[in-house]
Symmetry: C2
Subunit: 509 residues, 2 copies
Amino acid sequence: MYQAMSTLGFAAQSGQYQYNGPIKLEGAKPGSSVVILGAGLAGMVAAYELRRAGYQVQILEYQDRAGGRCYTLRGGDSVEEIDASVQKVQFARGNYLNPGPWRVPYHHVALLDYYKKLGVEIEPFNMFNHNAYLHADGELGGKPVRAHEVYSDVRGHVAELLAKSVRQNALDDAVSGEDAQKLLASLKDWGFLDKQYRYAKNMQTSMARGYAVEPGGGLMPVARPSQPIGLKDLVGTNLWSMLGVFNMHEFATTMFEPKGGMDMLAQAFARELKDVIRLRSQVVRIEQGADGVTISYKDRGDPDNVLKARADWCVCTIPASVLSQLEEIQVGKPMLDAIQSLPYGSSVKIGLEFNRRFWEEDERIYGGISYTSLPIEQISYPSTGYLSSGPAVLLGSYTYENTNSYRFTAMSPEERVRLAVEWGSRIHPQYKKEFRSGVALAWHRMPWIHGCYGLWNDALRAAHYDDLAAIDGRIVLAGEHVSYIPAWQEGAILSSLDAITRLHAKASA
Amino acid sequence: MYQAMSTLGFAAQSGQYQYNGPIKLEGAKPGSSVVILGAGLAGMVAAYELRRAGYQVQILEYQDRAGGRCYTLRGGDSVEEIDASVQKVQFARGNYLNPGPWRVPYHHVALLDYYKKLGVEIEPFNMFNHNAYLHADGELGGKPVRAHEVYSDVRGHVAELLAKSVRQNALDDAVSGEDAQKLLASLKDWGFLDKQYRYAKNMQTSMARGYAVEPGGGLMPVARPSQPIGLKDLVGTNLWSMLGVFNMHEFATTMFEPKGGMDMLAQAFARELKDVIRLRSQVVRIEQGADGVTISYKDRGDPDNVLKARADWCVCTIPASVLSQLEEIQVGKPMLDAIQSLPYGSSVKIGLEFNRRFWEEDERIYGGISYTSLPIEQISYPSTGYLSSGPAVLLGSYTYENTNSYRFTAMSPEERVRLAVEWGSRIHPQYKKEFRSGVALAWHRMPWIHGCYGLWNDALRAAHYDDLAAIDGRIVLAGEHVSYIPAWQEGAILSSLDAITRLHAKASA
């Protein structure tokens, strides 16, 4: 069907998903067992589905909570870094930061199905807010501008320039005659151009980019058009590239978040699996033989004592960053090489609590993200509790895979928070007066993961990905790092579903 | 500040609002009174604020409920048309249709403030959904395509064409040299162009328009790029102009809706004003003299008996469509001419209830709007209850000011619903199997308003608007029809706030 349609030149159907509804595993051999390492989403999905298929399952989890990076920080929580420094979260009741995943695209269909299956309520995550700011140091006088202005002006100027070109017959080899006339009409409409095909200051362009003075009622002053940003002021700016995020499938509407915090799904899985998760269990050795797998681990409260867990099969969701540091993992060289070759992405998130929602009350920003060239890069406003009074938490910085994230990683948590407030106050002057407390999580400094996500590139994928994903004897790996959607929960879940499907096939053979 | 900045050529600040926080009226002359006609939002805002300022207020309302067009239809409600035909709404508990206003832009700041003040909870209204459909009969084979495909492909083709033109130096008089190079870089980024500045089928454009096969986990099939729609297939189509709605300030994110139905604010006001609203009161005559205003009205349960209400002042929010039909209204010729000159917009909304959310479950459409060239024009999916099971209501058609809305107005309610299902099934084949019931509200056939909203144009504004809005003796008009934001609740509220501010100034003089 897809092939036939695309030969007509127009079909272009997108959106065939790898997940087509709940996995159907059944008929495990009686008494067969699986040990699962790690109680993040990949591990818990594996345990949940394998148990339903008839396996005896157990999960060993290093931390004293299930969920892994499906994680929410609330008032009273503690965050310990590799140097044993501890931050105590001081947010008011009901406020939180999702330091790991924080948004769910509509096309992450497996994750959405688990929300539904486990009764986790969701609400829209507002990714795309026309009224948030774009800001670049040294551009447009360094002043934040509203996204809807740049968003409209870029489109308008491009439309005007292209219309000019078409009218000068400069593109006759590409588009001419009747098509050129149609294109002009479309550009006029799409770019809010006037009769002379100009993107100018008038009420028409203000219908797209907003008015200088909004229309009112009765005998209030009449509305006034706003002045578009000039093409010369826009060309080559960072503002233009900041629009890219508005155009990416990865961030397309509708996005969601669980109500109350990202870890609601982890909590729901943990309730289901309460009797099979063993917390505070540090795996030190993974051995396998003809008749099963043996996991050596220590209870973190009793580190001198090595315990053993045995099973027929093993689903290992321990991140490669940690797995590569175990005393031993008995897998072949290809998988070992893959584990040892995968670097982990750096990422830092900083949550800031303020006395009130000044971004809503003073600036009419309801959710969404402001982008800046400052090292904090982003300010994301809460997509929940709109119009409410009292303290609220925003994401004061989110950096990844660049010098900013490494810079923040190298600082003390206090310094990260201090600078997020300092830099953020250049976007929102209210910051300093309204600031209450903050928490900064640098993923490379988390003792249980030493990084944020598997940082693949094309060369690494070609060399190692299939070896990482293949079953080695009785062991299969799963997690976002064993997926083509790294850093996203959907990747972890799809990886897990694929891994257990293959493992079940092998176990049933 | 605005002037100074715009001379620098970049400031372009938009968003100065006419409403700057709660109105502060105080010090009414002791014992002075206001009669308010109509308990819609304009009337109730007037009563609420004037009472706080010290006036004795009373409201006469024709219907047996307060709220006017701030209206929600739920199971058990009845809708009566001018020919006395009655529809009984059969929706399941919790489901509803907002037949009047249904969405609240972030820049409708007065309305949002009243939500906050009266404790009405809001949730995001999803206007902009990349995964909803665009559909035009006779274009792209008449097949619905996902909005994100058209949205990306239009941008990509435009960027490619403009890049081509720039590289051929066809635009040297407009942009050249270093700026031309910067523009090329920006176009490449913004349009997802390849190194040859082409918008082609590859993984890069799929990052914007979506993949043919989405990426997966483990050893699932690798992702595959989708095929962009060709420029020739897009140029001149209705699909292009359907994108306009994605680009309008009027519909910019973040939009909201009250949780539970649009009338939640009307209900909240009605609770506040319970003791001053008289329902079922049909105004027949409005008289004024040197010492006050006299309203003649009838209780609809006792139409032979004319009652009188007297007050010092009158705020009349009766729509011009009805006001022009009263036995008498004692105002000067300018206001009378204005009242009699204003036509009312035609609009029809059709709500359809289905057994399940097939648009979510089968098609991954979570809220937002599909646009079609069929007479139903739009299908809007609920922005609430995402992922829930059981019956749900969508807006199966919304038409206004055109032949489609008149066509639907002329049909029986049953026929409107039947055709909405028939036409809608061309977008969603599941319609026929899953349909439960529908309700269709044609505003021109509502006995209490005879139209949907004041249909101004520039000539009418010039001739009559100021006369309509000016205080005539002791009478001032208010409502969306006395605003520059017709058809929106913000217009009604701003109109009311402006009217009572002027009336209070006159009464205090």
